[in-house]
């Protein structure tokens, strides 16, 4: 793997993480897409240096790029494609239901923390 690929992957992961921690679901979708690109590039780069396309009749065997990670990366591309479209549909539905596409806090989790707060308050009153 060359340094150029390392920079590209690190950049995609960094900006991807920044986006998936956003409140807006459409930003989260963007972040997932970037992380997907980073993963595919990492897979490809881990298989060795660049080379000729792995077509047996076009170039001598010694000059071909490693075909195995390419076969794996193909699957990764298609799956992240499916995931991105599904998340987009979710964002759209969220917008339809709430008027926005924000990631809401989990209601049950909030109820637990409210319970704990209420108990803490009660404890102070008892003192």
């Amino acid at each position: 793997m060359s340094l150029a690929l390392v920079i590209a992957i690190a950049g995609l992961v960094g900006f991807g993480v920044h986006l998936i921690t956003a409140r807006s679901l459409s930003r989260v979708v963007l972040g997932f897409a970037l992380l997907g690109h980073g993963a595919v590039l990492a897979l490809l780069g881990s298989g060795g240096p660049a080379g000729e396309p792995p077509l047996a009749d076009r170039a001598p065997v010694g000059e071909l790029a490693n075909p195995l990670p390419q076969a794996l990366a193909l699957t990764a591309i298609v799956i992240s494609f499916g995931l991105t479209l599904f998340l987009l549909a979710l964002a759209r539905r969220q917008h339809e239901l709430t008027g926005d596409d924000l990631v809401e806090d989990d209601l049950e989790d909030r109820a637990i923390s409210a319970l704990a707060e209420a108990e803490a308050l009660r404890g102070h009153h008892d003192d």
């Binding site: 000729e52 298609v78 989790d109 923390s113």
Partner: protein, 768 residues
């Protein structure tokens, strides 16, 4: 046979549950058959002691997983006790519950399963089997104690019992694992006596476990509370079963661990303290059932003390008291239950004239009470004699301390027995006679049978003695010379016993006349408070950790990933010098373009702009594929990228143009963590590259040869996908199909559109 009996119990439980609503008598009969079967098997084993009865079911070979049962002489004795008393309890329950009792089926089923758990516990020869059934008794006793589930006190008592015995179960597991380590076997019957540090740790852990189950100080607090259970439950759990489990554990491991000083000293100390505290507790009570409950605590301490001494005589006395206690304590609880049912109260201040209005019950109570006090002609007498003799048989300081403890404890036992019998059946404080409803045979007969056993056990002392001697000899080989003697004559121990009874009776009579207040509970509230505080703490931690914000969760995970990748920094710094900057100038340019476009994705404020920036990233990545030599990826990526940009425009077209504002500080934190993540990933990739450089070259030649010769194609990537990874590709198609279904379903207009946006509940709402 053990499996057959356990199976019988399960079938009986299910049948009783199903039949109770249709025919009460049939349900009771079915529930009584199972324990009766166990009792018969125990009796057969006692009559024919030469046959070894063991059976195993191996589940996983070599992992010691499975069931191992062995009917040792002590297990046979306990099987008889558990089975016979269980049968009587079921009959008694028939009389105890008022006629239309909707929960009777549940009660009988739980009781039967509890009995099965108890049988499994005493038969267990493998520590794993023992642990399993130990836990089963904890769970089923929780259900039994909390049987009146509409009653808050019963629920609290059941929870307390479960928490204390459940915690003890965990300690038991730890202790058993240490014991396996110390002895090298998981079979209890194969364990050799052991000493040393490991044995000491095992001894402490196992005694703590026994203390929780057998209600030894200070874990005894659950037992008086468990009196909230229906009386048949108390009569069963606190005589022959549940609470005996800890004593049995102490008895079974005493041959193995008795050599360690810790085991002896700790068990004797726990036993003596519990004997005193229980007896004092019994004298403080004025609820007849609570007197018995505290008396049980005291007796359990007495038993643990006897097994802790470790001499042959003491072990023999321990087994004898164990058997006698099962018989008289079950009988006494049954008496209390009958008094409760027929008069409506258990307060000894309100009860009066019962000796005249309930003569048979009074006689039964007197017989069982005298057996508890250790007075002839009852089974409790020779057992107590053996204990006193065992104490007198010790030497030096031990004789003084243990002998003194046993004699003082026995005096207190006689005292609370007198307190109980006089309190319940003597005149009431104001001299009035309590109104008594008509008696029921089902309530009286089981108790009468137990009283008769106490007498017959004394008369035919030779017959009673045999199984007890054998059981004691199995624990301590030297015990086979001892036997129960119904009339010892003028021995030293006999005079001591006479003195015990006289002093105790005077004490008890004085106490039952003394003005009594309802005593404060000591310790039980502390246990409940500790439990509640733990729950509060758990909720506070949960509130902190599980605050409900998805972005914070994700950021926390990303931060952990970044933090862990610190370990790659050092190797990465070493490897970075050897790396090629780029495979070609084009690659470097495209990589920089990718990063730039990704940065653009995060910076663009409008949604459409962000979608376009994502498209640019996709194109740059496609370019990287081109220079890497991956035409298949190029084609796929171009296609996918087009659809995604179209999807963004369709999906987000109706949304606001720009993203909502976020706080500056939160953005900074996110940026920092994202930067750390990027650095961590870069370090990991470089380190991996450095580590891989020495590895062999990729097997391209072989892949090419096989693709051309066997796959029959020149495009190697395609051959791999269709030939080698056909199943994966199929899975991929399924994933896409499911995602497409989801997209279609989500894309259709919502059937119900809420007018107001869904929002988290306010604090007031949650509190309300």
């Amino acid at each position: 046979m053990p499996f057959l009996i356990l199976f019988l119990h399960v079938v009986a439980a299910i049948a009783a549950l199903a039949l109770a609503s249709r025919s009460r008598a049939v349900a009771v009969f079915v529930a009584a058959v199972a324990p009766a079967g166990a009792a018969v098997w125990g009796l057969v084993a006692l009559l024919d002691p030469t046959t070894t009865r063991s059976s195993s079911f191996v589940w996983v070979e070599g992992l010691q997983l499975g069931f191992d049962f062995e009917l040792s002489p002590i297990a046979a004795l306990l099987t008889l006790a558990i089975g016979a008393i269980g049968t009587l309890i079921v009959i008694y329950a028939h009389g105890y519950f008022a006629h239309p009792e909707p929960t009777l089926g549940r009660f009988l089923a739980t009781l039967t399963i509890f009995g099965a758990s108890m049988l499994g516990l005493v038969w267990a020869d493998s520590v794993w089997t023992l642990f399993l059934f130990w836990e089963a008794t904890s769970v089923t006793s929780f259900l039994l104690v909390g049987h009146k589930n509409a009653n808050a006190n019963a629920r609290i008592a059941a929870r307390r019992a479960l928490m204390i015995t459940g915690a003890g179960g965990l300690v038991l597991l730890a202790g058993m694992m240490v014991l396996i380590d110390a002895t090298g076997t998981h079979r209890l019957s194969e364990m050799a006596p052991t000493t040393g540090t490991t044995a000491t740790i095992a001894a402490v852990l196992l005694l703590v476990a026994a203390a929780t189950k057998s209600a030894l100080v200070p874990a005894h607090v659950w037992l008086p509370g468990a009196m909230a259970a229906p009386t048949p439950v108390s009569a069963y759990l606190h005589s022959a079963t549940m609470v005996k489990a800890g004593v049995i554990l102490v008895a079974v491991v005493s041959p193995v661990l008795g050599g360690t000083d810790t085991f002896r000293v700790l068990s004797m100390t726990l036993g003596a303290l519990t004997m005193f505290w229980g007896a004092i507790g019994a004298l403080r009570q004025r609820d007849a059932k609570l007197i018995l409950a505290w008396g049980t605590v005291s007796q359990l301490g007495f038993l643990v003390l006897l097994f802790g001494i470790g001499t042959a005589k003491a072990t023999f006395a321990g087994v004898a008291v164990l058997a006698a206690h099962a018989v008289f304590k079950a009988g006494l609880f049954m008496v209390v239950g009958e008094v409760d049912v027929r008069t409506g109260t258990r307060d000894i201040d309100e009860l009066g004239g019962l000796a005249r209005s309930m003569p048979i019950t009074a006689t039964i109570a007197a017989l069982c009470g005298l057996s508890m006090a250790g007075v002839p002609p009852l089974l409790g007498f020779p057992a107590k004699e053996a204990a006193v003799e065992a104490a007198l048989g010790l030497a030096g300081t031990e004789r003084l301390i243990i002998g003194g403890a046993i004699i003082a404890g026995s005096v207190l036992t006689v005292a609370y027995t007198t307190h109980f019998v006089l309190g319940v059946f003597g005149p009431s404080r104001n001299g009035t006679a309590t109104t008594v409803s008509p008696g029921r045979a089902a309530l009286m007969v089981p108790a009468a049978i137990l009283a008769c056993i106490s007498i017959l056990g004394w008369i035919f002392d030779g017959t009673t003695s045999k199984p007890i001697t054998r059981a004691a000899a199995a624990l301590n080989a030297k015990a086979d010379v001892y036997q129960l003697i119904n009339w010892p004559g003028a021995t030293q121990a006999f005079f001591v016993s006479v003195a015990i009874v006289i002093v105790g009776a005077i004490l008890g009579a004085a106490r039952s006349r003394a003005q009594l207040r309802v005593p404060a509970t000591i310790g039980a509230n502390a246990a409940d408070t500790a439990l509640d505080q733990t729950l509060v703490l758990a909720r506070r931690i949960t509130a902190r950790m599980q605050h409900g914000s998805l972005p914070v969760y994700v950021l926390t995970m990303a931060f952990v990933v970044a933090a862990v990748s610190i370990i790659f920094v050092q190797p990465a710094l070493e490897a970075v010098g050897d790396m090629t900057v780029a495979d070609s100038p084009g690659q470097l340019a495209l990589a920089l373009a990718t990063v730039l476009a990704a940065w653009g994705c995060t910076q663009v404020d409008s949604r459409i702009g962000a979608a376009l920036a994502l498209g640019v990233v996709g194109l740059a990545v496609t370019g990287l594929f081109v220079v890497h030599g991956a035409p298949d990826l190029v084609l796929t990526q171009l296609l996918v990228e087009t659809v995604i940009v179209v999807g963004f425009v369709i999906g987000l077209g109706r949304l606001r143009r720009s993203f909502p504002e976020t706080g500056a500080r939160w953005r900074q934190v996110r940026a920092a963590v994202a930067g750390l993540c990027a650095a961590g990933v870069a370090a990991a990739l470089i380190a991996a590259e450095g580590a891989a450089s020495s590895a062999t070259a990729p097997p391209t030649e072989r892949l090419v040869a096989e693709a051309v010769d066997e796959g029959g194609g020149n495009n190697i990537v395609n051959v791999i996908l269709t030939d080698v990874r056909a199943l994966d590709t199929f899975g991929e198609i399924v994933v896409l199909a499911v995602a497409a279904l989801g997209v279609v379903a989500l894309g259709r207009p919502a059937l119900v559109t809420p007018k107001t946006p869904i929002s988290p509940p306010t604090r007031e709402e949650v509190r309300a």
